[in-house]
Structure formats: structure tokens, C-alpha cells
Symmetry: C2
Subunit: 90 residues, 2 copies
Amino acid sequence: MRGLLGFLVLFLLSKKPMHGQEIANELAKRRGEKPSPGTIYPALKSLKDLGFLSEDKEGKTITYKLTSKGEKALEIAKKRFTRTFLGVIK
Amino acid sequence: MRGLLGFLVLFLLSKKPMHGQEIANELAKRRGEKPSPGTIYPALKSLKDLGFLSEDKEGKTITYKLTSKGEKALEIAKKRFTRTFLGVIK
DNA sequence: CACATTATATTGGATGTCCGATATATATAA
DNA sequence: TTATATATATCGGACATCCAATATAATGTG
């Protein structure tokens, strides 16, 4: 998986399915800067290629959601993340 | 500042001053892998060059601790980190 | 002293991460 | 149809991140 960006995307999609621009806007809120198209779409492609996302295309928008494989990967990544940053967030 | 490694090092040193090997061992607990010398020492040097750390050399061991500038940088980084990963850690 | 151990330091490079620029496709408006 | 806006996609490359290998220095042990 890609680094923390991929992790965040998985996390966001676990809350609710979204298309690329929605994800980018949500990332903008959290990070302060909206990721460029050259960042978000390759990240989505990478997660899709790993089998973590499925697509639902309607017109020009593609809604992504987690596959069960993606859910498992997220749980594992969450555990590692939590252990690594234990105590950092109170 | 370096990425999350530098952030973690600042956080660990805010708990208590440590020397390089202690930091590496603490990182090993959290991440599962001990960072190589080529990772930890450049990271410490970088943080020192930024004025975030001060050194206390005794024999061959160098104990690092946060400067007040480092404490401020840590607080800022913590806020950003918390906002970015809000909800990821329950 | 000779040897091993521990801590620190540096360098070169492999890989990862991400962006800017650009392109394609669909939808909407005039 | 032409123009505009929106969403997705790709490519090249800049930069960051990190490691393996190696080196230096101090300490401990026989």
C-alpha cells in the first residue's frame, strides 16, 4: 500500500463510499491542502490494483468503496498505526 | 522536519531525554523494526540542525533532549497530525 | 596491548511519495 | 455545435525517506 495517503483514503472510504473529488476535498480539510489530481488518482489506482477498492462508474464520476480485502487491510494498518503512534494523540 | 520518523523522535524525546540507541530501541517496539544507523543518525542530525534538539555528550554516548524550539515544533506537528488522523485512532 | 563491543556518523543509492502539466471523457449551457 | 465545467487519468520528474555498507571513536575484557 502507498504510505499514509493510501491509509487515509482507505479510512475515509470505510466511513462512506465516495468519488475521487469528494475524497480529495475531505483530504483538503484534514491536511490543509487539496491533493493534486496527480496524487489522488494514482493513489486510488494503486489501491484498486491491490484489490482494496471496487468502482461504481456512473457517467463521469466513479464511486469507490472498500472491498472486504480492503477492510481487512485497513484493520491491519490501523493496528500498526495505533501501536506506532501510541500516546501521541491524547 | 523529516516526516513521521522525525515527528516520532521529537515525541519520544519529549517524554524523556535519550541517546540514539535508546531511541532506536523504542522505535523498534513501536514499528516492529529497528531503524538502521543510516536512518536514525541522519534523522537526529537533521533535527539538531533545525535547532530542535540539544546534545549532551558523555564518553561515546550522546543524550538528546528537546530545545524549547523543538517543543514548539512538536506541538504544532501534533496539532496537524491530530487533525489529519482524526477518528483513525479510537 | 589485542580484541570485541557499543555508539555514533557518513555516503551512495534504491525506493517511495507526490506534484505539475497535460490529456481524455462526460455533462451542461449557450 | 461550440464552449465551458467537472471528473478522471497518465506521465515525467523532483524531492523525501530510508537502508546497507562502511567508517570512526570510545569503552570494556582477556
